[in-house]
């Protein structure tokens, strides 16, 4: 199973045909999670909801100090208020979601067979707005991030459980996200896997690198660096910039597929958003 990862990571050329093996997503999942569980034998799967703090004592202490009264609480409150404020036409966000929008972050991302693409929570929020005559909000931070934070908060504790339907297009989206994860990018010529698989728990200069396993579980995230909340796609863009690659747009097909792949790889880990990170 490890061979799959090594093979995939060794692919230096980004091509359009699936060079990566024909293993099923279930096999990928076992291999991916197996790698981390073997490498960090004292860290149970659920702990990956805490990211790098599952791997490092010193930074965990600082994080716990901040979690005593986390700055994202402000955003959750703001998000709740926004969520409950009706649109100009009188309807609310609750009307667009299952269960009135409470505890439903686990429904995303999913492959929408009608639209022919991956739908994320953030895209669903804006969909709800435009359907009800409101202007869409920015995808990276601000009000939409706060609403996402509130919805993530009501979902806390549920287990990530992304399903890939029996639809070639869904499978293609998954494979596309997987390819992105293992493909080299940018001037620094690094793939997500180089840092977040090979270097998880190790330092790159002074930064302790987080494991890719569980990455989507704690978003949206309040980053000390941002001094505020940001969504998963905001972070994808930032990370791409950090390897000196041109970032894709938030909610672009590339990032949607990447989110699809990453979240599937985190199946079984509890939803733990919103989070705080440096």
């Amino acid at each position: 199973m490890k061979k799959l990862l090594i093979m995939a990571a060794a692919v230096g050329v980004f091509s359009t045909t699936p060079l990566i093996s024909q293993a099923s997503p279930e096999d990928d999942l076992k291999a991916f999670q197996g790698y981390f569980l073997k490498r960090f034998p004292n860290v149970p799967l659920a702990e990956y909801a805490n990211g790098v703090y599952a791997l490092d004592e010193a930074s965990r202490e600082q994080w716990e100090a901040i979690e005593e009264f986390p700055p994202y609480e402000i955003a959750i409150e703001e998000g709740e208020e926004l969520f409950n404020t009706p649109f100009k036409n009188g309807k609310t966000y609750a009307s667009c979601f299952r269960n009135g929008g409470i505890g439903v972050k686990g429904d995303y991302p999913y492959y929408d067979s009608e639209k022919g693409r991956v739908e994320t929570l953030e895209s669903a929020i804006n969909e709800c707005r435009t359907k009800n005559g409101e202007k869409p909000l920015g995808y990276k931070k601000g009000k939409l991030a706060s609403i996402s934070a509130y919805m993530a908060y009501t979902t806390r504790g549920q287990k990530i459980d992304v399903k890939i339907p029996f639809d070639q297009r869904a499978r293609d989206a998954y494979e596309s996200g997987k390819r992105f994860f293992y493909a080299r990018l940018g001037q620094l010529n690094l793939a997500c896997a180089h840092c977040h698989v090979d270097y998880a728990g190790k330092r790159i200069r002074a930064d302790l690198i987080s494991p890719a396993l569980g990455h989507p579980s704690h978003f949206p995230v309040y980053r000390s660096k941002w001094g505020g909340l940001g969504t998963l796609h905001r972070r994808f863009g930032g990370c791409n910039k950090q390897v000196r690659a041109l970032p894709f747009k938030a909610q672009s097909p590339e990032y949607r597929n990447l989110e699809y792949f990453l979240t599937y790889m985190s199946n079984g880990i509890p939803w733990n958003g919103p989070g705080t990170r440096k």
């Binding site: 010193a58 600082q62 901040i66 002074a206 302790l208 000390s224 660096k225 990370c239 950090q242 000196r244």
Partner: protein, 154 residues
């Protein structure tokens, strides 16, 4: 009571306009105006004199400075100062290598414990110095905190 004039051509800023009384030390429990001069002193001892009345301190192992060895992010460093010293009327936090070392000062009520937590900005690797006024005398403790630039090129 000491009167010092460290105000070298201070600009009349939008800050609380208490320039006139900035050099004066007022009784702590009266809601004093913001101690502007102390928060402008570039020298740690100067800042200490202005905020606590003296820079004469004794190191004490009864003061615990809880702070990370390596700060994850210099913009938000969680710290806790606690002490078992008795009769604590005031505590102050200094970040030695910040442009202005005095970071914050706390006047404690008679039944308030010698304990305070906050989150601070550190510009670079520096000593974090806690000064406690116990029984009218000053005691201090410090902890070195490393602040680094991240590694991701960001």
């Amino acid at each position: 009571m000491k009167r010092r004039s460290f105000l070298k051509g201070t600009v009349a800023s939008g800050m609380l306009g208490v320039a006139a009384t900035a050099g004066l030390l007022t009784p702590k429990m009266v809601l004093a105006a913001w101690p502007k001069a102390a928060f402008e002193a570039k020298d740690l001892n100067q800042g200490m004199e202005l905020i606590m009345g003296s820079s004469d301190t004794t190191e004490s192992n009864k003061i615990k400075v809880k702070a990370p060895d390596i700060a994850e992010n210099g913009a938000v460093v969680p710290i806790t100062i606690s002490t078992s010293l008795p009769d604590v009327s005031q505590m102050a936090v200094f970040i030695a290598k910040n442009p202005v070392p005095l970071c914050s000062s706390y006047d404690l009520g008679p039944t308030t414990m010698g304990f305070v937590s906050c989150r601070v900005k550190m510009g670079k690797t520096s000593d974090l110095v806690a000064v406690v006024k116990s029984g009218g005398k000053l005691y201090s403790a410090k902890k070195a905190v490393k602040v680094t630039i991240g590694g991701c090129g960001g």
